[in-house]
């Protein structure tokens, strides 16, 4: 076993280049932000400009190995979220399912940072519930008409393109019922509302009112939309090796070391120590789960419950971290960056809101539990049972024994 990622000479050379460039070119305004959702309009403009500059360098379309280094360097500067825009998933889908025209039209734009794509809000490994999809599609001659409303995720104030899933064959079995569309957001009939949530802009309601598209907007075969998106979300280039340490937990630990109360740092308080280390351990487990997932994906092994398990775990520990932050920081946990008394630039106030939003962007954690239960074959009786063993890992062989 080897838990360390080994870097090639090419990666190390690239790291030097990236590091020097970021040090010289990183806009000051971005350095303090904990995520795209913290940015106001000028901040987002600055972010977009910076993404374009990254695109010009060719760093938005790197191979997996170099993308990892780039992510790590951004992570060191607590800017890993800059690339958390889902572009790797749409690139993966275009490369695998796109027509030649689609590849030519979209891939360069995405690679240059010129195209901001929002996609239907869903997570890898989650079971399709056709009834929960809000957009319907039907053919009218050569045209396809899209109608309905659904929730989309992505960065920024406005998308350039929308990656939608629509129900096109409602009477077919779920695996043949949906189609995937990549459409410009400026088409007639498309309107976007951004609900006023705890994390503004994290989710957006997009309405399609008799929007006319043509078959060239289809991404993948008709009827296979859900499969296209799920496959892309579970592609090796999408399931990345976890970068750097957890920035929020790192900020919290540093705050506890630096903050003195009643003559001693918070980190010396025996009760708080337990909580702080618990937060650290939880983030380590997340990292190990992601490492396992990346290893499974990169070695072509079958992924069953692992992605949904990781997502569910992250949701649960995000709420736990939220409480630990309040216990450690007290009222300071609630001060945002605009307050002159804010600690850690108000980033942990953002965590207070984002943990709730992460928990419930569109639904409760139930879909993840359902996805895991499906992967384990629960509820299907002995016929449907799939004995899951973590492939290639020590427990894998353990499944053979009965006590």
């Amino acid at each position: 076993m080897d838990f360390e990622y080994r870097y090639s000479e090419e990666q190390e050379q690239f790291r030097s280049e990236v590091s020097a460039w970021l040090d010289a070119n990183l806009p000051e305004g971005l350095a303090g932000a904990a995520g795209a959702a913290m940015l106001d309009s000028p901040g987002w403009e600055q972010c977009q400009n910076f993404r374009r500059r990254i695109g010009e360098k060719g760093w938005l379309a790197l191979n997996i190995d170099l993308a990892l280094v780039f992510l790590e360097e951004l992570g060191k500067r607590k800017l890993g979220w800059l690339l958390d825009d889902g572009s790797s998933a749409i690139q993966s889908a275009l490369q695998r399912w796109g027509t030649e025209n689609q590849k030519k039209s979209y891939l360069p734009l995405i690679a240059d940072g010129e195209a901001n794509v929002w996609r239907l809000l869903t997570e890898p490994g989650v079971r399709l519930d056709v009834g929960s999809l809000g957009i319907r599609a039907y053919r009218e001659g050569d045209e396809i008409i899209l109608n309905g409303q659904d929730t989309f995720a992505g960065q920024g104030l406005w998308p350039d393109y929308l990656w939608a899933i629509a129900v096109i064959n409602p009477d077919f079995p779920p695996h043949r019922a949906t189609s995937s569309f990549l459409v410009p957001s400026g088409l007639k009939g498309i309107s976007i509302q951004t609900p006023r949530t705890l994390v503004p802009g994290q989710t957006n309601l997009v309405t399609f009112d008799h929007v006319v598209v043509y078959p060239d907007a289809l991404l993948g075969d008709e009827g296979s939309g859900w499969s296209v998106m799920q496959t892309a979300l579970q592609a090796p280039q999408t399931i990345q090796y976890p970068i750097a340490e957890d920035a929020e937990v790192g900020d919290l630990l540093q705050y506890a070391k630096d903050t003195v109360r009643d003559g001693a740092s918070l980190g010396k308080d025996l009760v708080l120590q337990q909580l702080l280390v618990e937060a650290h351990i939880n983030s380590r487990i997340t990292r190990l789960f992601k490492m396992r997932n990346a290893w499974l994906a990169s070695t072509g092994q079958k992924i069953t419950y692992e992605l949904a398990q990781t997502a569910l775990w992250e949701k649960q520990i995000s709420m736990r971290l939220s409480r630990i932050v309040r216990d450690v920081m007290g009222m300071y946990a609630l001060l945002d960056p605009q307050d002159p008394r804010a600690a850690v630039k108000g980033k942990l106030e953002f965590q207070q809101r984002s943990s709730l939003a992460t928990q419930n962007p569109s639904a409760v954690p139930e879909p993840y539990a359902v996805a895991i239960a499906d992967a384990l074959g629960l509820g299907k009786g002995q016929q449907g049972e799939q004995k899951i063993a973590s492939p290639g890992t020590p427990t894998g062989a353990s499944g053979s024994g009965d006590v």
């Binding site: 076993m1 080897d2 838990f3 360390e4 990622y5 080994r6 090796y241 630990l253 506890a256 070391k257 980190g267 010396k268 025996l270 120590q273 337990q274 702080l276 280390v277 618990e278 650290h280 351990i281 380590r284 487990i285 190990l288 789960f289 490492m291 396992r292 990346a294 290893w295 070695t299 419950y305 398990q309 569910l312 775990w313 139930e366 539990a369 359902v370 895991i372 239960a373 384990l376 074959g377 629960l378 509820g379 299907k380 009786g381 002995q382 449907g384 049972e385 899951i388 973590s390 290639g392 890992t393 020590p394 427990t395 062989a397 353990s398 499944g399 053979s400 024994g401 009965d402 006590v403």
Partner: protein
Amino acid sequence: MDLSLSSTQVQLKDSATEFLKAELPKERVLQIDDSPTGFDADMWRKMVDLGWTSMAIPEAYGGAGLTNTDFGVVAETLGYFASSSPLLDSAVLSANAILEAGSEAQKKEYLTAIANGQQIFATALTEPEYGWGPSFIKMGATHHGRNYVLNGTKLFIPWAHVADQIVVAARTSEGASPEEGISLFVVDKNAKGVSTRLMQGFIGDKVCEVNFNNVEVPASNLLGPAGQAWPALERATDKATAILSAYMAGGAWKAYEMCRDYSQVRIAFGMPIGTFQYVQGNVIIALTESDACKWTAYEALWMLDTDRQEKQIGVSTAKAVASDSFWKACDASHDVHGGIGIDITFGLTHYTKRARTFQHYLGDARYHRARMARLMEL
């Protein structure tokens, strides 16, 4: 990054699985647990023959010189089958204490005896004022001529009743810090003044009260310089702790498997109970706890094998997780099983009992989190 097992580890795992599947069905676990000593001499001999007592010992002292991860693979399998034996305490903890602190002559004598199964060693650290840091080692040893005289009580000592020798931590002097003044002695279990009593209760591996009443130990049985044993002891306990965490991961995984499988066959309201969300939730808890336990344990073993700077933090992470994950997986499994789960012939309680015992052994989650806070300089 490569999270797969090496070919040696696959072989170790396969042979351990084959052996334990044949030798240790759940009925046998119960028989051994119910026996007066909780020790199966015949199975122990077979474990020795398989080479398990020699795995952690360098070749120079009659061992196989395998890695901590190699041992962890076997330990995980032992945990999966709820095996109880002095393997961890003799062939890992005691052996490493001797390896870390002992002289060349002591290593040759003791480690060879452990490796070839001639002798079983136990290690006695904890006392009535129970705890795992150096400040909890209070039992005294005084120097008289060519001997040391030990007086005091050690409590919750695994396998002392079947051991031939006991590695005893005692305080030979007071120092400026709790770490100073701790010495390690190899004490003949049959020496005059040593008495053991098997402790009773809902306990997995058998543990003992060991009393030392004016026990004279030759100074030649002192491991390393007097009063300076703590660093060596800490290194030895770190290895044992990581391997114990792997054992616990195996047990947690079995608890998960049991509830997953039971949820498929137990019918309620005309359908398998695995259909119900509450049951699914508990199966998922057991799965995730056992996965967390496994990966933190193997990362710790890897850190020890590669001598990573942060290895102590890694070991304490693993045990802090294992201490809680194993019982949480068992408790979730009980929630799925209902009444059948508490039938001791069913098998789940084999794990529940061990989860609660090993929750504390070599330090509970609270101890390891506090240790991490210190190591992380919070």
